[in-house]
Amino acid sequence: MSAHAPADGYYVPHGSYWPIIGSIALFLIAIGFANYLHDLANAQYIALLGVALLLVMIVGWFGSVIHESTHGFYNTQVDKSFRWGMGWFIFSEVMFFAAFFGALFYVRTFSVPWLGGAGDEVSTQAMLWPYFDAVWPLVYPPSDAHTLSQTAFDIPKATVPAWGLPALNTAILLSSGVTITWSHWGLLDKNRLQFIAGLFATVALGILFLSIQAYEYGHAIHELNLTLNSGVYGSLFYMLTGFHGLHVTLGALILTVVFFRALFGHFSEHQHFAFEAAAWYWHFVDVVWLGLFIFVYWL
């Protein structure tokens, strides 16, 4: 059967084995990781096998989608489904970060001040850790205030200041938001050079951001002694920036794929949903970073 013209109705693919492979991959990752946490020998290889299988699935699955797309199976309605899908997927990602931002605001507004004696008729501080100073960023966790010799936590020498590398990284990520938009304009104007150069610049800025972030982590861990084990400040700092970094990595990977697809001429000014989805995702990690910069590093 030959490819149907787009007008032929909504495309419903026939059976596919990629989803079940994806389920097996997730299962392997989960049992591998959980057993690894409990020191089962070689469990990490089960998890890595799962990751590999997941990658195979992604390549295979997206491969079929790209094939179907470039062979004209998709009409504008299918395109719209992808748009709704990607849009609400990004919304769900926003809510994932919201959980961690919520924890940050709760800790800063409630739990740390309460531990420091704030609130009416609350004797938490007197009963638990009378010498605890409720300051933010929290360098001395409550149980370690003034007992540095027997600390259970990694007490940092300092926290990471906003107006150094983080500010530079903010500028880098915001510029990458500009370059991806510039690239989009190039695509719409049929300016292939601008389109591809913009994409290349965005990926390069993303990699630069990640390198600086990795350097900053190294500096914080080895020189400042700021770790996941530095009390709740370290916990929030690394979990928020860490998950953000993972998402930047994912975004950069998506953009890299889009870059190569652009080189192969997969996109036209009318049909380039994959590019737009990658751009939306990139703007999303951009906005999350702004929140991080303001509430984790700066204020």
């Binding site: 109705g9 909504y10 079940i20 719209k80 997927f89 809510m95 009390g231 709740v232």
Partner: protein, 541 residues
């Protein structure tokens, strides 16, 4: 391209592939709906068995059958399996089967992802159930996984956390599919305000899912890192707070209870008009009430935490916002009753379940209102009164709606009428035994019996005995349900396309059983008018 084709006319007559690969690789919304529903039934029986272990132990005071740790594993696993394995997949199965047919769409918007959403679940529950055989036992700290118990708990907690991540991925993809389908695949003429209420309630449920499942993922991730990577989210010694867990968890948890009930509201809103032979009273107020409930569900979470020591201002806020939910819920109950008012009613099994739903869910709503009153909740908190409350909204609420839906649409799915006499017997057995089980638990709670304890004082013995007898009766009655379903799948009186005299909607315009592919082309005027979706003038009356 031999491996792919559009849902064109040829496909309409294409038989589904045979054998196991049909079910493993399927992208067909009806196949996937069936998989979800069968999986849900299986989990319902597994989770139900665990509940019976609990009720057997509670039949008499003292320890009889199981040790306390195993008892706690049973209560925890029962809840997790019933919520994530039975009720949510049942609703998703119904969404799969019904939404495309109800809006005149050829399938779900993203059919391959639909397959993935389902096939994650059997793996996730294998992972979860495997914890029963682990050193230290399955999770036993309650399905709410409160810190610090969950931070200090046995290795199985990590398996639970990863299983929850898998279920979350499944739910989010399922919800995105529902949203894309409803917003993008409605046939011409099926405007938003003409959609059947089941479609509306699922659209709103899907938004709740994509908003809160990631939050659950976030909070269990914090638990995981607190357990293994040195973070102190829930550790006051590090500046965190175990109460923080409860806040984030219930920010997910309260919308979750509406995820478990809004689709039920949709089902009941389909069934009551059918058997009252009247259009639904107050259609648009039903839509707005559902949306209001969904909105309010995000600002009431701390009513689960009145006793943790919140500031009074917080308690008052969460008390009043919670009580506010009674308004849109009241609108719904009023509309269902008004729909029946002066209707030409008949009482087939789905209608019986629907009417029981209206009565018994409302009892659960009232006890919820009592629990919402902060000063009163100090008494009720963590007692059997809470257990009675949420079982009234979940068993004769959510579960009855699922059974009503099964009887209502089984003829459409299978092409066979179920045995009405057996259906009615199943209904009366269930309706009576569910009340024998859960009504006495109100008294036990008010008298002070704590939940999640395998032993109790002697004065609670009588009501516990009654409750356990009811539970076993209810459990056994469900075997009759399984029998009826299997019997109907295998044969029975052929069903007509419309099935029920008063049935309106696009799904009743296609033959029974529904063909493998429906609405590859949009429904014509005849179908639209039969479904009541055309103004009379256009329909040529």
């Amino acid at each position: 391209m031999s491996h792919a084709t559009t849902a064109s006319h040829d496909d309409l007559h294409a038989a589904p592939p045979r054998g196991l690969s049909r079910w493993l690789f399927t992208t067909n919304h009806k196949d996937i709906g069936t998989l979800y529903l069968l999986f849900s039934l299986l989990m319902f029986l597994v989770g139900g068995t665990m509940a019976l272990v609990v009720r057997a132990e509670l039949f008499q005071p003292g320890l009889q059958f199981v040790d306390p740790l195993f008892f706690n594993q049973m209560t925890t696993m029962h809840a997790l399996i019933m919520i994530f394995g039975a009720v949510m997949p049942a609703f998703t199965g119904l969404a799969n089967w019904l939404i495309p047919m109800m809006i005149g769409a050829p399938d779900m918007a993203l059919p391959r992802m639909n397959n993935w959403s389902f096939w994650i679940l059997p793996f996730a529950f294998t992972l979860l159930l495997s914890t029963l055989f682990m050193e230290g036992g399955a999770p036993a700290g309650g399905w709410t996984m409160y810190a610090p118990l969950s931070v200090q708990g046995p290795p199985s907690i990590d398996f639970l956390i990863l299983a929850i991540h898998m279920m979350g991925i499944s739910s989010i993809m399922g919800a995105i599919n529902v949203i894309a389908t409803i917003l993008n695949l409605r046939a011409p003429g099926v405007t938003l305000m003409k959609m059947p209420l089941f479609v509306w309630t699922w659209l709103i449920t899907a938004y709740l899912l994509i908003a809160v499942m990631p939050v659950l993922a976030g909070v269990v991730t914090m638990t995981l890192t607190d357990r293994h990577f040195g973070t102190s989210f829930f550790d006051a010694a590090g500046g965190g707070d175990p109460i923080l867990f409860q806040h984030i968890f219930w920010f997910f948890g309260h919308p979750e209870v509406y995820i478990l009930i809004l689709p039920a509201f949709g089902i009941i809103s389909q069934i009551i008009p059918t058997f009252a032979r009247k259009p639904l009273f107050g259609y648009s107020s039903m839509v707005y009430a559902t949306a209001s409930i969904a909105f309010l569900s995000f600002i009431v979470w701390a009513h689960h935490m009145f006793t943790v020591g919140m500031p009074v201002a917080g308690q008052l806020f969460f008390m009043y916002s919670t009580m506010l939910i009674a308004v849109p819920t009241g609108v719904k109950v009023f509309n269902w009753v008004a729909t029946m008012w002066r209707g030409a009613m008949t009482f087939e099994t789905p209608m019986l379940f629907a009417i029981a739903f209206v009565f018994l869910f409302t009892i659960g709503g009232f006890s919820g209102l009592m629990l919402a009153i902060a000063p009163a909740d100090y008494q009720y908190h963590d007692t059997y009164f809470v257990v009675a409350h949420f079982h009234y909204v979940l068993v004769p609420g959510a579960v009855f709606s699922i059974m009503a839906a099964a009887y209502f649409w089984l003829p459409k799915w299978t092409g066979h009428q179920y045995n009405e006499t057996l259906g009615k017997i199943h209904f009366w057995l269930s309706a009576i035994s569910v009340n024998i089980t859960f009504f006495p638990q109100h008294f036990l709670g008010l008298a002070g019996m704590p939940r999640r304890i395998p032993d109790y004082s002697l004065q609670f013995a009588g009501f516990n005995e009654i409750s356990s007898v009811g539970a076993f009766l209810f459990g056994l009655s469900q075997l009759l349900f399984v029998y009826i379903v299997i019997k109907t799948i295998r044969g029975g009186e052929p069903a007509t396309a419309q099935v029920w005299e008063g049935a309106r909607g696009l799904e009743w315009t296609v033959p029974s059983p529904a063909p493998y592919h429906t609405f590859a082309t949009a429904p014509d005027n005849k179908a639209m008018s039969a479904a009541g979706m055309l103004p009379a003038a256009e329909a040529g009356h």
